[in-house]
Amino acid sequence: MSGFFSSTAGRRLVLYGLVVLVLALGTAGVLLLLENISQRKYEARQVFFRVVELNEDTEDPAVWGKNFPNQYDTYLRTVDTVRTKYGGSEAFQKLDAFPVWRELFRGYAFGIDYREDRGHAYMLSDQRQTERVTKKPQPGACVQCHASVIPAYRKVGVSQGGVPDDDAHRADAIMAGFELVNAMPYSEATQLVKHPVTCLDCHNPATMQLRVTRPGFLVGIQRLAESGVSLPHLPSIERWRRGDRSKPYDANTLASHQEMRAFVCGQCHVEYYFKPPNTQLTYPWHNGLRVEQIEAYYDSVGWKDWTHATSGAPVLKAQHPEFETWSQGIHARAGVTCADCHMPYVRVGAVKISDHQVRSPLLGINRACQGCHRAPETELLARAITIQDRTSALMTRAENATLALVLAIRAAQERGASDEQLTKPRDMHRKAQWRLDFVAAENSMGFHADQETARILAEAIDYARQGETEVARIGSGRAPR
């Protein structure tokens, strides 16, 4: 071997060998780069490739996923379970974690089972399992927002509502089916549906354009448009009001794309009630979106969700008024919608898609916040947590105040106070609990509208303490005010 390295030709051979190796590696590198550039160029050109035909009956998201694999991949990730400081998607029992709520919900289904809500993927299976549904009879109205329900509405509208089965009558069939399904028992209605929220609920299958499909929202937003309250964050409604109003407000034809990015979420993330006599799902926006405007509507129709088992007050249950709360906040006022923060753009190769793993912006502050806010992630997180800490502290006070009123009324009842004497304290209980629950049931711990949330909690505390004062007046010889 030593002869090889000592000979001139041998050394030259090694040198040439090394040169060839370097050149080969270099060429391979260049070709890899070429392939990468070519792939990026391809990605940028081919945003979507139609593999399957989609229509109004394509319920299964997996089929849509063949055409839109990137969006579908992120949609599937809504199974993830991640906690933030105040939110998250683990289904822990809130009644055990926060025992005050067991007392505040006494006599109501939420007093039996109040688990933290999980991601979109679980909305239907969790609803079928909750003891609120298994231990208490619930109406079919519940499925509007826990399933992809539009094709089922249409079929019921045609088969039981007698609406003709053609494209011209599609909207009528959906509305008729909606009203029929609302009135069914839940156990029957849930058999009509197979999937949690799907692509079809927010996208037109022919054009992918955003759309609202839920009849509850379509009617609710009409009532809101007709209400006359100021809605600076919804310019298309303000524009419709200035017109001749010959047709009712239609979100699908009048709203801007940016408004639709809030409306599609507002289809379900709202306050609602089941209007008697046949449990029609209704959004109480007739007087506006604020907590006291919704309360005024409930008062005007004499609605109560249940009679509190301890205090005897005709109380209200707030659902999840995210759309209403967001509407009062600085982000709505600046034209920032749900999708901007909860479905921020994500880059996949050379293209950007909106992230369909809908979740807390705190889990991706760079994409959710930094597009607008040029501050470090730690700073932005600190700002959000400051709002949430303050809201949480205020909410604890409101919980304690409301509980104190409930216990004061119970003590008065035990001392023999009459229903007449307790009318005012019970009314205060209704007002306080409605405001407290409006914040507690809302999924942002105050962030969606921090000042509005603080105002609501301040009112809750005030009404609860007013109620206690009224209880103290009973039997004291002083007339109730």
Partner: protein
């Protein structure tokens, strides 16, 4: 044993490979519009689509009529201009190829200082009176005038 013959063949092989390498490299350069990076046309900055938002924003900004990407983001000395282009070109290529950059894109400190010096380059007449002698600690023009280059941020 005599390796001369083998070595000769190796040298021929090396030359052929060099030719292939140069050919592939040249093709890649043309395919990736490499020459466009030597010019001042802002279109070059959206060759790879990552800067699309910044480009769109610039088209709507107040500086659209008076300044292109290079006016603000590249140094203006005869040599430093090319050094900036080479350095940023390298960083951009690595980032886009390996897809491992921060979203949304953030300017590096050295580029931010360069940007500041370019603000002053044109606006020296009106900024002379403003004390700005410690660039690393002082707020930069875009801290407040943040929409002049890329338009309002939503």
């Amino acid at each position: 044993m005599d390796y001369t013959r083998t070595a000769r063949w190796m040298s021929v092989f090396a030359v052929v490979l060099l030719g292939i390498g140069i050919g592939a490299g040249a093709y890649t350069l043309v395919y990736a519009r490499g020459a466009s990076y030597l010019l001042d046309d802002p279109q070059a900055c959206v060759n790879c689509h990552v800067m699309r938002e910044q480009f769109d924003g610039w088209e709507k900004s107040s500086h659209h009529a008076v300044a292109t990407c290079n006016d603000c983001h590249v140094a203006h000395g005869p040599v430093s201009k090319w050094l900036t282009k080479a350095e940023n070109g390298f960083h951009h290529s690595v980032a886009f190829t390996f897809q491992n950059f921060h979203e949304p894109i953030q300017i590096r400190e050295s580029s931010s200082l360069l940007l500041q010096s370019n603000c002053v380059r044109c606006h020296a007449d009106i900024t002379d009176a403003i004390t700005w002698n410690h660039p690393k600690t002082r707020d930069r023009c875009v801290r407040c005038h943040d929409s002049v280059g890329h338009g309002p941020s939503r």
